[in-house]
């Protein structure tokens, strides 16, 4: 739903900003968030709910870490790699973080291209974003297999509290699932953009209504969120 004005002739005066405008919007009829489509509003609310999911996961992890009786393994040692004979703590995680943050950049560019109706560029940038995402998941798979080969299991590990492995696999796994879903979603939307579905008014999936370019931005919201969550996981799990 675009922010169109069917009665543009007698359209209301421009809406004031600031606190006053905020109050007016909430007191108005029809919509609280003026000019915000249903899909976008829905994604924001969903992300709020998902924030609580990750929040509970992370708070649960922190409580366990503080209450467990065994010592907690030292993350920067566990996640270190030997590269060309040099010992580099957290190097893989640093690269993963870099990749994911870069993907947020290409995603933002894709949204911009979509609103300029540049189909090819949009689709290309979305595919690049998806590739960054897939790389991230790939590196995560590498990290998982490395830890597993070193003897880390959900129920125990060689260095200390069993909860280390449990929390690690659960939280990164849950986040990795989010990234994977995002990659799939990006590819689907990229294909639709490429094919021109949003110009031809072809009926979309999930809505049985014809889609709009805005779906690129909505996908982007999700993607940035997954990225942001990673920053918290990075800070709380790897750096602490």
């Amino acid at each position: 739903m675009e922010a169109i004005a069917p009665h543009a002739q007698n359209a209301a005066p421009p809406r004031p900003g600031g606190l006053h405008g905020f109050v007016l919007d909430w007191a108005a009829d029809q919509r609280v968030f003026k000019g915000v489509s249903w899909g976008k509003a829905m994604m924001w609310i969903f992300l709020l709910s998902d924030t609580f999911v990750f929040g509970c996961f992370l708070l649960g992890y922190m409580t366990m870490r503080m209450s467990t009786t065994e010592p907690w393994p030292n993350a920067s040692e566990v996640f270190a790699l030997e590269i060309f004979g040099t010992h580099m703590p957290l190097i893989l995680i640093a690269i993963m973080t870099f990749v994911l943050i870069s993907s947020s950049g290409t995603m933002a560019m894709a949204v911009n291209a979509a609103y300029r109706r540049d189909r090819r560029l949009t689709a290309t940038l979305m595919i690049v974003t998806a590739l960054f995402g897939a790389t991230f998941v790939g590196m995560q798979a590498f990290e998982w297999s490395k830890l597993i080969s070193e003897g880390v299991r959900p129920w125990g590990n060689p260095w200390g509290a069993a909860q280390f492995g449990s929390a690690f696999f659960m939280i990164t796994g849950f986040h990795g699932t989010h990234v994977t879903i995002g990659v799939i979603f990006l590819l689907i939307v990229a294909r639709k953009v490429w094919r021109g579905d949003y110009d031809s008014g072809r009926r979309g999936f999930f809505t049985s209504r014809s889609g709009r370019y805005e779906i690129v931005e909505i996908t982007g919201l999700y993607w940035h969120f997954v990225d942001l969550v990673w920053v918290f996981i990075f800070a709380l799990f790897y750096l602490w």
Binding site: R31, K34, A41, F52, S67, S166, M170, S208
Partner: protein
């Protein structure tokens, strides 16, 4: 903005122009997409309500079995202690989650929100449909656990670890607890899909002129409860996932090192308290997730059937919102006996008691609405009044239990069972009954039979008191909760057994009355008195649809335009004793409340 008298789009008051084009509706092409895999919120609402009622009947039958055991211990040897625990667990969980939550939000939410805010449908009909089917799957998984080897879980509806996944608990090491957790996870996923729909429909898809402060309180209640559910269910989701891992992968999130059946269990270092925090961070808001829709609906029932505007509408809205917010910071009042820093106990007792303030405001406003009202003692009104009485009763014992020193001795006694059945069991169920009697004419075009309704009401209302009121006393003399059989005790007098037998007999009678209600529902579809579009002469939008029952797209060709709040009853000078929300101010001699 223009002044009240200058014409804008042909309307004398200030109704802003449409901001959004009329939606593209999904049109069902076959019988299946129309009635089974329907994307119409009204059908989905009915599907939700039917499924919830069906599984609720299971919970009802379980309560009979438990009561038979408690009333006549030793008589029914097919009820073993293990089974008693399973009955308790399934009864509690079904009632709270699969019946009340699903019925209020999925059932009434779907049916009423689009009609009450003047939308053609929910904003994402396809997702809404998925929401129902996932809910149905969750229910089926739950039902499957009855037939699983070892039976359903018997951990109590709170599913506290460690015992929930230990071998001494029925279903603890088998598939019972797994199916329960999977079913909860499915429920939450399905609910999220529906919940996003309800929230966005209220926020972004209202009719012209329908401001938030003109919405009926029913919508406010359901809306706030849905927002709360979207924020509270994540905690249950996370705890279910973690417990599933403890069970299946051998992690120790919640499991400390312990000796099980003489052997050291494979777990160590986990925190059972963490589960309790997560569970109650969901569990307490859950109480209000079923209470707030009840508050909203009751306000509307009282206003319609007492022919008076609701007293203090704005206060009522803010009370709903404030209760919703506060209920996120009181959860540890369920954990006083789990051991906590006294300062925390102090904090949580204080916040708990503070919630009583907005709640009391609501109760006073209901009473002031009734004051000098033109009260019609219809069946919906009777149920609404019964709700107020029962809720006040349960709320008062809540004040007792909210205080640490009072709760500690009363915890885990029948007093608690009496309290929560009053406040979140019986009271919301009364509202559901009242709401069904009230909106059934809109859904079917026929009235429910009044005589059967009166019998149903009086038996249920008096019966519920006879069942649960004595339980306060049983709790005070020390009868514990979740006990299969009391056995010989020095402190429990002989008369307690007589009382228990009495309660059981009443419970069976009340149960029978529910069968009468179900019969009434089925019978009246064909044989009820035709109701016409607006039998209660109500002002809110859902009664103004061009067709009854409302057709596809709800509103015919043109969307309604709203000019006033939903509570213009007995406006001085008006021709009739109610003014529908769609009537512009100039069409009546009196203007009513159309701010």
């Amino acid at each position: 903005m223009t002044t009240a008298s200058s014409p804008l789009n042909g309307f004398p008051d200030r109704v802003p122009p449409a901001e959004v084009e009329d939606v593209e509706l999904y049109h069902a092409k076959s019988w299946i997409t129309r009635w089974v895999f329907s994307q119409d919120a009204k059908i989905i609402g009915i599907q939700y309500a039917t499924t919830a009622t069906a599984i609720g009947l299971v919970a009802l039958v379980l309560s009979w079995l438990m009561r038979l055991q408690l009333g006549f211990p030793g008589t029914f040897d097919f009820i073993t202690p293990a089974e008693y625990y399973q009955f308790i667990t399934m009864h509690g969980m079904i009632m709270v989650v699969y019946l009340l939550t699903a019925l209020f939000l999925g059932g009434f939410g779907n049916y009423l929100i689009p009609l009450m805010v003047g939308a053609r449908d929910m904003v994402f009909p396809y997702m809404n449909m998925l929401s129902y089917w996932i809910y149905l799957l969750a229910v089926l998984v739950l039902v499957a656990s009855f037939f699983a080897p070892g039976g359903p879980t018997g951990a109590g509806w709170t599913l506290y670890p460690p015992q929930a996944i230990l071998s001494g608990t029925p279903g603890g090491t088998g598939s019972g607890i797994i199916l329960m957790l999977v079913s909860l996870i499915l429920f939450i996923i399905g609910f999220t899909m529906g919940g996003l729909n309800y929230v966005i429909t209220v926020l972004q898809a209202r009719a012209r002129g329908m401001t938030l402060m003109r919405m009926p309180l029913t919508v406010w209640g359901i809306f706030t409860a849905t927002v709360m559910a979207l924020l509270a269910f994540p905690a249950l989701f996370v705890s279910a996932v973690m417990m599933l891992f403890d069970m299946l992968l051998g992690t120790s999130f919640f499991m400390p090192a312990l000796v099980e059946m003489g052997e050291l269990a494979k777990h160590e270092g986990g925190s059972p308290l963490l589960f309790q925090h997560l569970f109650w961070f969901f569990g307490h808001p859950e109480v209000y997730i079923v209470a707030l829709p009840a508050f909203g609906i009751v306000s509307d029932l009282i206003s319609v059937h007492a022919r008076r505007n609701i007293f203090g509408y704005r206060m009522m809205v803010w009370a709903i919102v404030i209760i919703g917010a506060l209920s996120f910071i009181v959860w540890a009042h369920h954990m006083y006996v789990s051991g906590m820093n006294p300062w925390f106990g102090f904090f949580f007792a204080t916040t708990t008691l503070i919630i009583a303030v907005p709640t009391a405001i609501k109760v006073y406003n209901w009473l002031l609405t009734l004051w000098r009202g033109d009260i019609h003692l219809t069946v919906p009104m009777l149920f609404a009044l019964a709700f107020i009485v029962t809720f006040v009763n349960g709320g008062l014992t809540g004040l007792f239990l909210g205080n640490v020193v009072v709760d500690v001795p009363l915890s885990d006694t029948m007093f608690v069972v009496a309290h929560f059945h009053m406040v979140m069991g019986v009271a919301p169920i009364f509202v559901i009954f009242g709401a069904i009697y009230h909106w059934y004419p809109k859904i079917t075009g026929r009235m429910l039979n009044e005589a059967m309704g009166q019998i149903h009401f009086w038996v249920s209302f008096l019966g519920a008191y006879l069942i649960f009121f004595p339980m306060h006393y049983l709790g005070l003399i020390g009868v514990p909760r979740r006990y299969h059989e009391l056995g010989p005790t020095s402190f429990i007098p002989e008369s307690a057994a007589t009382l228990n037998a009495f309660i059981t007999i009443v419970a069976l009678i009340v149960g029978a009355a529910q069968m009468l209600f179900l019969f009434n529902l089925a019978w009246s579809i064909r044989h009820g008195r035709p109701s016409g579009p607006n039998p209660w002469r109500a002002a809110s939008l859902e009664w103004q649809t061009p067709e009854t029952p409302p057709g596809h797209g709800n509103w015919g060709d043109t969307l309604p335009v709203v000019h006033r709040w939903a509570y213009d009853y007995n406006v001085p000078g008006a021709a009739e004793d109610f003014i529908p929300q769609t009537v512009p101010p100039s069409d009546t001699a009196a203007t009513g409340e159309h701010r």
